[in-house]
Symmetry: C2
Subunit: 197 residues, 2 copies
Amino acid sequence: MRSRPYHHGDLPAELLARAEQTLRERGSGALSLRELARDIGVSPAAPSRHFKTKQALLDALALTGFERLAAVISAAQEGVGESFAERLDAAARAYVGFAVTNAALLDLMFSAKHSPQASEALGATAHLWSEQLLELIRDGQRRGEVRQGALERVALPIFAALHGYAGLTVSGLLPPEVTGPGLDDVIASALRGCEPE
Amino acid sequence: MRSRPYHHGDLPAELLARAEQTLRERGSGALSLRELARDIGVSPAAPSRHFKTKQALLDALALTGFERLAAVISAAQEGVGESFAERLDAAARAYVGFAVTNAALLDLMFSAKHSPQASEALGATAHLWSEQLLELIRDGQRRGEVRQGALERVALPIFAALHGYAGLTVSGLLPPEVTGPGLDDVIASALRGCEPE
DNA sequence: CAAACATTGTGAGCACCGCATACATTGGAC
DNA sequence: GTCCAATGTATGCGGTGCTCACAATGTTTG
């Protein structure tokens, strides 16, 4: 009467999946390893085989977040015009869309509480993602639609504007009548900010 | 041999003070009501007299954060030039400075996990602060140094850029060589973004 | 093919946490 | 001076992350 096989099959994957679900539904604070184990039907200590600590689970979650974010932005570049303005617009909407539908996850991704070594892996994956936007801007420079100058220095203000808008929106602190056209204004402003002189 | 008076004198104040200290030193995750009570030398249930729940303490902390932020920005406007560029520059540096030296607190302030009613009070105080920046921009419009248009719509991109830069810096995800001149670039870009057309 | 080993899950236990409840002490209002 | 509201105490409940010794299962190897 083996109700369940002794070995689960792919515990780490299911842990991540369930964790992401409760993350989305009840926020990062409500995430408990024990509850996770209970839901999956495994002993309380089982998760620790795959994620030594709770923070490790969160780090892994953040990492998948960066991967998904990269995928989302990449997909948004398909079949969009060639001009810098159009491409940036598409990327920006993809980024903010991801941020809003994955608020708690984004919080995790950009939280400062990662373990030092996890930060390394995270840095690498985050880099992989930011490279997309950097390339986008580099292309804009090539086309003469973006001001010259060190790439990162041109890029940072754009990153900051998008990231900040996402953060403000998710925090719920800014009045609703602003969030609507807000993104358009932010994108327009960022565009003006990096126009060739 | 009254080692300690039965009543503390001003428990809520000391709770907030100590909480803010451990918040700064060890992050918001490491904040425990019991530990706080232990440090202060009071029973574990005592804090609940003043902050019914842990979240209430955090909310109160966030509220003081907004007050201090307003004070910092206000102070930064003293004795600075009249031009919009100068005033914005001063406010921006004050804001980012506060954000960097109070990373965990800022996280709390803009976290989405406030209780609904606390959000109201927070919204009010946050408004009190944002009003400063709005006024600054309104003044810029009056002087003809900022583009016309609905105030909030002009302001949002600037808010977003600053908030985003602060968030990125604190998260530690962007390479160090960028954070240095980064703020200058962000401010310059925001300025260009709101120049009159 | 069987024995040795590594991987993965179990069970029990520790110290801690937030929170609730019943009770003690205090200071001020009347 | 007595009552009462405010404040702090004592105790306990259920939950948590983490650790460690042990059991069941795959996998490699002799």
